[in-house]
Amino acid sequence: MKLDRCARLMCWMTAALMLAVPLFGEEAEAPRVRVGGFADLELHSSSEGDREGLDLVQLDLYSSAALSARWSALVEGTAERSLRGSNPGGETVDLDLERLYIAYSHSDAFRLEIGQTHTGIVRWNEREHRSRFLQTPIDVPAMARRPQADGAWPLRFVGLWVSGRIPGPLGLSYGSGIGAGSGRNRDETPIFGSDRSIALVLSLTMAPDAVPGFDVSAAAYAGRPRAAEEPLRERDVTFSINYVRSGTEVRAEWGRMNHTASDVVYRTTGYYALVSKRLSGRGERARPYFLIDRLRVPGDETYLAEVSEENAWAGGVRYDISNRFSIKGEYRSQRAPNGEREALLGLQIGLSF
């Protein structure tokens, strides 16, 4: 359970706010409190024999509250039992507070979130957040993995986040945040401790009217995480394109992360490309897909010592039994730590409630 003192305090504050919803009177226009979630489980069989049977069970719960016409709050927590990650020899159970914020939405051009939220530096993460039900393939691309799952990019921070849409035919939208970034470990975002650090995020997206379903996005992140020996100077950039229209889905993203320590620069690079197409007619519940997934990490960077490289491709089919219940079957070929190619067969059952 990784809830520090500050996170617990914010949990209590949000719970108090949600309980106080009726005090806001008649301003609320939407259902006052909404609770939902996702559950999924994965089964795998690998050619190396290191992943057999049930190896991931995940529960993702969230609650949002419309406090008034302009104020809202959201809390999201995850519970995950995994046989993967940094402890491959044993089982891990993680409980995490994923998001917790209060939002003020003045208009579509200005929305302010205060609390713990996602940085948006990786578009996949920003669009899909945590739920695997909402994504087409079984696995999250390596560059969008959570830090707790040995991911490299800083996906969460605690602070202020401003976003909005700029009216016009270019469909511009922006997001910008300032707050506490990663600490000594990537999966910590300390606010009060000596290892706290300031992080800045800026993103810009264009979704032109002329091409419905298409958007292109760029994001930058600057931070100074307090690594073990000395603070690192972190500068990250990502670029992504998405096209989602009439059953066709194309998502691609490239990212570069630079960590500078004294005179050494560690460069981490990642990218993914996903193509999927929902079939038509009687096959409309099926969506075949193909994913390429790469992540290259400098071997001598201690701050990302737990991050493993990825060189994989996957092909599979997502089948939606209903709008809230899906099954995915996938064949994945990936390079194992010993350099050999490893084949994985995966099955994921996911539902939304």
């Binding site: 226009e29 939407a30 259902p31 909404r34 939902g36 996702f38 969230y62 949002s64 419309a66 016409a69 809202s72 959201l74 999201e76 998001r99 914020y101 939002a103 939405s105 003045h106 208009s107 579509d108 979130e113 669009r127 899909e128 957040h129 739920s131 039900f133 909402l134 849409r165 035919p169 469909g171 009217d209 419905p212 379903g213 989602v244 229209r245 009439s246 059953g247 929902r278 409309e284 519940r285 939606d320 709008n323 809230r324 939304s352």
Partner: protein, 149 residues
């Protein structure tokens, strides 16, 4: 003989129709672009110019109007559209998914009773309790109206 009958069988009539977009008379909007209508129904435009939250209404997935609207405006299938809104609410970008009206008549009543609502109905289902907005500056009877087929 069977082949002959199949060839000679006339093609099924092409379905025609015309959707109109209705809002409450209290909504300060007279016209919308197709792109903005799509954004409203995807939850990317969430507020009217006066700041009130937009509440879109949809029809049952089996209805011809719903299928035509998803195909021509949102450009998504029913499953993808439903899952898109699960994501919108989960991400905190929308307070709730669109209101599901059981019929065009119920959608019209919903719009008439809710000053922030918007809906699409067949042109024949409009009455004086709601206001029709133009799409791409064209009204439903004009040539080139984008929601006629």
């Amino acid at each position: 003989m069977l082949l002959f009958i199949q060839i000679a069988d006339p093609a099924p009539p092409v379905a025609t129709g015309r959707l109109v977009i209705i809002v409450s008379p209290a909504v300060p909007v007279n016209e919308l672009s197709l792109a903005d209508l799509r954004r409203i129904y995807l939850g990317r435009i969430t507020r009217w110019p006066d700041g009130r939250r937009i509440v879109p209404a949809v029809l049952p997935s089996k209805s011809a109007e719903q299928r035509a609207f998803l195909l021509r405006v949102v450009q998504m299938g029913e499953i993808d559209y439903a899952q898109h809104w699960i994501g919108q609410v989960f991400r905190g970008e929308a307070a709730a998914p669109p209101h599901l009206a059981s019929s065009s008549a119920e959608a019209r009543r919903f719009v008439a009773e809710h000053p922030q609502a918007i809906a699409f109905v067949s042109a024949a289902d409009v009455d004086e309790t709601v206001r029709v907005v133009t799409i791409e500056r064209k009204s439903a009877g004009q040539p080139g109206y984008p929601l006629a087929w």
